[in-house]
Amino acid sequence: MKKSQYTKEYLFAFKQTIPILLGYIFLGIAFGLMLQDAGYNFVWAFFMSIFVYAGSMQFMLVTLLAGAQSLMNTFVMTLFINGRHLFYGLSFIEKFREMGKAFPYMAFSLTDETYSVLCSLKVPEGLNEKKISFLISLFDHIYWITGSVLGALIGQWLSFDSTGVDFSMTALFVVIVVNQWLENKKHFSTLTGFLTALLALALLGPDSFLLPALACSTILLIVFRKQADDKPREEEKAKA
């Protein structure tokens, strides 16, 4: 029996998302455990994963919630951590607009991982690319929600000593830094961020160093652009 078009499209979309399935379930569980540990149950995990849907930011939100941080701090932190998403949409402006009703959801659900899958997507002849793109975004979202709810439930049902589980957030950021280090020729930006943060921590203390550190790093990167930028500027390229 021949597989229907419908089944083929679902299967193709699912296959593209298998690496994300593993990643999101696992990281989602880590997030859910951490959230439960901070006193917020699976209902919170469910709604946070539906509406915020941003891995690193949700980890950071656990810390912000636990410390009852101000809304202004939350706003600025979100800008810094998710600011990079500004650049993901740029690659898909035309493509998403053509998707009609699905457009708002496609823009909303463009996480790091979904972006990377959609960027490398090559749809075989005869299958509907728009539908497959939508399914990929939707599947990834469902994995993340499932993982985080599962993590919160595990934390609630199994009473094991979860001290230290919050290290998963540290490990996630360390892995991202290592990946960035391997990908880039220049390490000025990574070092600027690291040293500025250490200095700010020493001067201002653990509760209020983060935003000043990020602001200083941004200014330093603008001032020392020659040292930091991997790509030469347009005008210098023209001269060369």
Binding site: F26, L27, W44, F47, M48, F51, Y53, S56, M57, L61, L64, L65, A68, Q69, L71, T74, F75, M77, T78, L79, I81, G83, R84, H85, F87, G89, L90, I93, F96, F103, P104, A107, F108, T163, G164, V165, F167, S168, T170, A171, F173, V174, V175, V178, N179, F188, S189, G193, F194, A197, P206, L210, A213, L214, S217, L221, I222, D229, D230, R233
Partner: protein, 106 residues
């Protein structure tokens, strides 16, 4: 409770605004050069800063002197340079850290 919901709402709305921004603003206009540049270099600085943020509670001069954190971070870095498997690095690092703080450095 209300404050917690507000924190999540602010974060959700800000994230949505960021993700919709390029579609609303840069549809036809060219992205400013300085914005493109910051888009290339800022993520590295932010992630390095966040590592420091995660470790801000470490006490270097008392308690465990930051040894569990140092060992676990080193393990994550070495494992990731070796295997380049994100889940393996995070999973092993987290379990190692939990063992370190629960069993070894009590």
């Amino acid at each position: 409770m209300t404050h917690s919901i507000l924190i999540i709402a602010v974060s959700a709305l800000t994230t949505m605004a960021i993700r919709f921004f390029p579609f609303l603003v840069f549809g036809k206009r060219k992205v400013p050069e300085i914005v493109q540049y910051l888009g290339r270099v800022l993520p590295c600085a932010i992630m390095a800063t966040l590592v420091v943020y995660c470790l801000k509670g470490v006490t270097l001069f008392s308690g465990n002197h930051g040894l569990p954190e140092l060992i676990a971070v080193a393990l994550v870095v070495v494992l990731h340079l070796w295997k380049k498997n994100t889940l393996l690095s995070i999973g092993t690092g987290t379990i190692a850290y939990m063992l370190l703080v629960q069993v070894i450095f009590v």
